[in-house]
């Protein structure tokens, strides 16, 4: 703003200069009004829906947390000894399954995305990209069916081998005491239906999401930055590390969070593959696996009534909070890096 500019609108309108009628503000811009109304309304709608969901969850969940459940409550809650003792293992199972899935999915998805954006010939990349997108369109029930009938049995011998040979790694140890002689017997999940299989299927389900989004981000890396790196004598991999990955970091984080969101809330695939229980265990191959909140609700809602309903809805609220926290953390990470993001 220059120093001579009028300091306010008022000053301008009260000047005594004659007003050219063709410059008078037109008050009847119907299209403008209509469009701004629609877009503002749509934005408000999000708030209303979110508020409605939150209100429903909270009001329905309160009875489960605040008062002693009646005879209609879930027996599992009674067995666990209270609502929190019951929901905590479920929350653990949810997070554990998702974390395992992300550990497998994120590196693989980034690898695929880099292959598609920087290594594959254009034609291959295009076909391959379609296939990845197609994978995202497969319904989760189908993934679940495939996991139970194909993947789990196929991996079962491998799990036995892991338990026999690598049981010194805590996660692969499925041996339990047997009899009084201090003997051990393997307590492997039947037919390979364990936590690892569930996590693998979850990983397969989120890979297309993360791949598709990160590929787009990688493709948008400014050519200038790639050339800057190459001109300094970077190999292709060094160029990717120096120019492509830093540029794509926030994209990787946000697409991973979207994938994590799907993994956390995924119901059918887990419900079909994992015969889950209310317990906390980091072991991947055993018969006793923690369940996830979404799968637990799906498995138990049909028979629940009264207080049982409240308890399941309260578990749903816990899932809602977990997802919310995950998204907020992701935003905070992206925000804290904005100065170096190249957006300025």
């Amino acid at each position: 703003m220059s120093a001579q500019a009028p300091s306010s609108d008022k000053e301008r309108t009260t000047s005594s200069e004659p007003l050219d009628s063709s410059l008078v503000r037109d008050s009847k811009r119907y299209g403008d009004t209509l469009f701004s109304g629609i877009s503002t309304g749509s934005a408000l709608m999000i708030f209303v829906i979110l508020a409605a969901v939150a209100t429903f969850l909270t009001t329905q969940a309160i009875p489960a947390v605040t008062r002693e459940p009646g005879p209609t409550g879930l027996t599992a809650v009674e067995t666990a000894g209270g609502f929190w003792q019951w929901v905590l293992p479920l929350a653990f199972g949810t997070v554990w399954a998702s974390v395992l899935a992300m550990l497998m999915a994120v590196p693989l998805a980034i690898g695929i995305a880099l292959f598609l954006s920087h290594y594959a010939p254009k034609r291959v990349a295009k076909t391959f990209g379609y296939i990845v997108d197609l994978l995202a369109a497969v319904p989760s029930v189908v993934f679940g069916l495939w996991g139970v009938t194909v993947l789990a049995p196929a991996l079962d011998p491998f799990y036995r081998w892991l338990n026999d040979n690598l049981s010194w790694i805590y996660f692969f140890n499925a041996w339990v005491p047997y009899g009084d002689g201090g003997d051990l017997r393997p307590n492997l999940a039947a037919g390979g239906q364990n936590m690892l299989t569930a996590a693998m299927v979850l990983a397969l389900m989120v890979i297309p999401i993360i791949t598709a989004l990160t590929r787009e981000v990688f493709l948008q890396t400014p050519r200038l930055h790639e050339e800057a790196s190459l001109a300094l004598g970077a190999t292709r991999w060094e160029m990717i590390r120096q120019a492509v990955l830093p540029f794509g970091t926030s994209g990787i984080i946000s697409s991973s969070m979207l994938g994590l969101g799907r993994a956390l809330g995924e119901t059918m695939a887990v419900a079909m593959i994992l015969p889950g229980k209310v317990l906390i265990s980091f072991k991947l191959l055993t018969f006793d696996n923690p369940n996830t909140i979404a799968a637990y609700i799906a498995q138990n809602f049909p028979e629940a009534e009264g207080d049982g309903n409240h308890q399941l809805i309260a578990a749903g609220l816990v899932l809602f909070v977990i997802t919310l926290v995950v998204n907020m953390v992701a935003r905070a990470i992206i925000h804290s890096r904005r100065e170096f993001s190249g957006a300025n």
């Binding site: 200038l224 050339e227 800057a228 790196s229 004598g233 970077a234 540029f247 300025n344």
Partner: protein, 259 residues
């Protein structure tokens, strides 16, 4: 330091399209050589072929020889990555890495070369390179701030600092001032004059006053006709090219009678 470049019968292609034809020239060390000519005449293409950046584009290739102190850069066992580590490049638009701080930007090339350096050596090299690019005084208090927060002219000098930090033999500049204001341009031109003390400098420019101000030799490129490959029309001392060119086309271009 500062090596001589000999270009021998260089043809440059983008797929089936021939962009440049039959360039022969010798670029002297410790001097500034300017490439001038109208848009699309192939001068940037020739420049990019000198550090094998041309072939980064899909389907682009080169036929001919570019000798760096006698070694053919297009020889069968030559690694383009190694070539680029010896021949630095500054681009038309400043392109510091946005995710890196000023200091990290300067040291980006050194890091790639796997040089094991102590923290104090790194600091020294960063300071030396920034001083070499006339930027040290302006940024010494904010070396850890993002490079993208600098002005355009400062960013371009940061890129020059990044290029000289790996002690190249040659520095190529592709219209380094075309995105800068006159004051920043002046700063870069002064810097170019300093750089030729230690390096072979080749600069592509659209600005003929700039070529006249900074260069010792000038090469004029032109197209025979639209759609034809670009060719080297005349090459000689800047003095001669600007005051007494042999070719009519050069004179027309210099005096502005040519688009």
């Amino acid at each position: 330091m500062a090596k001589r470049i000999e270009i021998k019968d260089l043809d440059i292609f983008y797929g089936k399209f021939q962009a440049v034809k039959g360039v022969d020239m010798t670029i002297e060390p410790r001097a500034v050589t300017a490439f001038i000519g109208s848009s699309g005449c192939g001068k940037s293409t020739v420049l990019r072929s000198l550090n094998r950046m041309h072939e980064v584009i899909d389907g682009a290739y080169v036929d001919g020889e570019v000798l760096l102190d006698g070694t053919n850069l297009y020889g069968p066992n030559v690694d383009p990555v190694r070539v680029r580590r010896q021949i630095g490049m500054v681009f038309q638009r400043p392109n510091p890495f946005p995710t890196m701080s000023i200091k990290e930007n300067v040291l980006a090339g050194v890091r790639l070369n796997n040089a094991r350096m102590s923290g104090s050596e790194m600091d020294e090299l960063a300071e030396k390179s920034l001083r070499g690019a006339n930027l040290w005084e302006e940024v010494k208090d904010r070396l850890d701030r993002p490079g993208s927060g600098l002005s355009g002219g400062q960013q371009q000098r940061l890129c020059i600092a990044r290029a000289i930090a790996i002690s190249p033999d040659v520095i190529l500049m592709d219209e380094p001032c075309s995105a800068l204001d006159p004051i920043s341009t002046l700063a870069i031109e002064d810097l170019i004059k300093d750089l030729k003390e230690d390096y072979t400098v080749v600069i592509v420019t659209h600005n003929m006053q700039q070529a006249a101000r900074v260069s010792d030799s000038t090469a004029f490129f032109n197209l025979k006709a639209q759609g034809q490959p670009g060719e080297l029309i005349e090459y000689g001392s800047t003095e001669k090219i600007f005051h007494n060119p042999d070719q009519k086309a050069t004179e027309d271009y210099i005096t502005g009678r040519f688009g």
